[in-house]
Structure formats: structure tokens, C-alpha cells
Point group: C2
Chain length 211, copies 2
């Protein structure tokens, strides 16, 4: 029989979903291997189109490759800033956008666009649903990590082709996210982008309409 979830669990889940946070400030102490394995296994219970399981996780263990990726992200962060208005640039300059040098783990997540798994089911009209499936796996990992008190940050200020080439992955693999995973440096409350006045949260009703 499938599990049944009571009101206490539902409330705690809502608290997790509401507070989740993207973490960019990490301590550097390592995670134990069992925890990393458990999280990578849990992530793969995510739904995927046609059950194609197109997610490919690459743990970046090499310090040299990690530094190459961090330098690339630094350069892209600077480049994005240089095209902003002066007012925006001031707000931008105080944001920390990645914790790739400190986090215990850097994990690159790819979509195998050419997987034969799932035989194309559900992807005929929307092939992008393969990549969306990988996003679902990342979110699954994210929530499981946060429930364990760990931090996760999604770095997107990188050029996918560059990351694919640094890590030497198959030409069929497309970068979906570069993740930092580790012990958070400080307790998080409000999102950094809200706290620092970058972008506040809308009332949820603003994004709902009817037909």
C-alpha cells in the first residue's frame, strides 16, 4: 500500500518548501560519503518523461577542475555586471553568486539528450521535457539535502558549453546546473536576493489566472 501522510508531515513539508533557500555561503568541511550517495540516489526518484531518467551527475573531485570552473564563473559574474545600469551594478556587486571554492561538493548535472531510455515517450512534441526531468531531479536532491540541514546552491552564471568542455562530457550531454553542496555557513532566513533588495516576492495571486 502507498504511504499516507498526516497533517503534521504536511505542515513540516510546507515549512521546508517555504524556507528551502539557495545557499551560497558554505563551511568547507567535507560531507560523509554515505550522505552524498544517499542524496544522489534519492534525486533519481524524481519523475522523468517516459521514465527516461536522462540525468547525469558528475562529481567534480579534482581541485584543479573545480578552480577552473570557479574562475569561469567569476568571469561570467563580472561580465554580466558590466552590462548593468549603474544603480543595478551597485546592488549586484554585494551579491555572492556562488560558493564553488568553499562548498564540500561541486556537482555538475547534465541531461543526456540522446538517451534511448523511455523510447521517446512523452517527448515527441516537447523534447525539452527531458531537460525538465533533470530539473526535477535537482529539486529532489535540493529538498532532501535541506531536510538534512545541508545547503545547496544552483550556479547558472556559467556558459554551458564551457563547463561541458572543461569536464569533457559526451557531446550529447547538456549542462542543466552546476551545484554547490555542503554545510551552510550561517542559518538562512529570507532569500539573499530579497534581503539585499534585488527582487522581492510577488503575491502568489498575481501569477494565477483563469480561462
Amino acid at each position: 500500500m502507498p504511504p499516507r501522510f498526516g497533517p503534521a508531515f504536511q505542515d513540516e513539508l510546507a515549512a521546508l518548501l517555504e524556507w528551502r533557500r539557495d545557499v551560497r555561503h558554505f563551511r568547507s568541511d567535507p560531507l560523509d560519503e554515505d550522505t552524498v550517495a544517499e542524496l544522489l540516489a534519492t534525486a533519481q526518484f524524481a519523475p522523468s518523461v517516459g521514465n527516461s531518467q536522462p540525468w547525469r551527475f558528475v562529481r567534480v573531485r579534482s581541485a584543479e577542475l573545480r578552480e577552473q570552473l570557479a574562475l569561469h564563473a567569476d568571469a561570467e559574474v563580472a561580465r554580466a555586471g558590466s552590462s548593468m545600469s549603474e544603480e543595478r551594478r551597485t546592488a549586484y556587486s554585494v551579491l555572492k553568486l556562488h560558493g564553488m571554492r568553499e562548498a564540500a561538493e561541486v556537482i555538475a548535472v547534465f541531461c543526456d539528450d540522446a538517451t534511448a531510455f523511455g523510447s521517446g515517450l512523452g517527448a515527441a512534441t516537447m523534447p525539452e521535457t527531458r531537460r525538465y526531468s533533470v530539473v526535477l531531479a535537482i529539486h529532489t536532491l535540493w529538498l532532501a539535502a535541506r531536510a538534512k540541514g545541508l545547503g545547496l546552491g544552483w550556479v547558472s552564471v556559467v556558459a554551458p558549453g564551457h563547463v561541458e568542455s572543461v569536464l569533457g562530457v559526451s557531446p550529447d550531454w547538456r549542462l542543466i546546473a552546476l551545484l554547490c553542496l555542503g554545510h551552510p555557513l550561517e542559518p538562512d532566513d529570507r532569500p539573499e536576493l530579497e534581503r539585499r533588495g534585488w527582487q522581492s516576492r510577488l503575491d502568489w495571486r498575481a501569477n494565477v489566472s483563469e480561462r
Copy 2:
């Protein structure tokens, strides 16, 4: 202070993530409005690139529009089947791919690719992260619904442009998913695609490598 989650919650969360299921068999009795509102609000606690919140939820309340979408999905399901090998077609023909005629709610979810929210932060090199943010909101809704004993099914056998035109949304909006939400007809255990021999689950280690 941020919430702390104990081992009992972590175990129950793991059970939810593992069992979650894509639901295609629904009863037709309605959901109460408070539940729908709560789920649509919870979904919007999802992370989004630059806090851009680009998700746009459209509840399809009109029976006529719903039937137009169901007919379109039926046609696309048939079309996808016609290009399959005979062996695959037999397996395919017994799959139920959507519950759009029965589910209490049909909700189309779009990404506003042109939103000014978030001022482009994090989307300079990977503009697709806006659409990925919408996927994160859908997954958030999915988990919250499942924890309440409700079913959710993601329909992707539709042509996005057709759905956008039937629902008359802004030209900047791109369809990410058509969702069925309601009371599941039967308890689910294993995924329908596994149960019916379409595609089994891989060992998680197969999708993890190191550099």
C-alpha cells in the same frame, strides 16, 4: 531562526519523494477552493533564477476549453503511436497518458520569458533557467499535492503552440506543462511505465561519474 528537520521527517520526506507518482487515473469530484489556493501559493515558494518568479498558472475552468485540450492530446497521443515500431505500439496502446477529462482541475503552466522581474540575474548565460524555474514550481506543487493524498499528472503529449493559442495567452508565455490535479482513482504503487513494462528504473550509480 530557520526550521530544523528531524530524522522522522527526513524519512517521511524520502518516502514521499520515492513514491510520488505521476497520476493519470482520477475520480471526478471537485477539490475545495482553499486546497487549490493553498497549493498554488505553496508552488510559488519554489526557487527561481534571480527571484524572477516567471511561473504563470492558468486554471482551465471552461468545460469547452478543457475538451479542446483533451481532444488535442488524444490526437497527439495517436500521432506519436503511429510512428512507433509494432512491438512498441502494442505496449504503448495500453498506457493511459492523461486524465484531462476526469481530473477535478486542469492547470496549464507557462513561463513568462519576457518578465522584467529579477532583472536578468543569473539568466545571462543560461536564459533557459527561467523555464527551469517554472519546472521547480510545478514539482513543488506536485509534492505538496501528493502529501495531501491528491494526484497530479504532467501531460506533455501536446504541441505547446497549440495550447498557447487555445488558451489565448501572451505571446511571451511558453507552455511548460499541462497538469491534471484531483483525487486519484486508485492507490498507486509502482509507476505505470514500470508496471506495464515500458521502461524500468536504472540503478542510481549508473548515472553518477566523477572527474
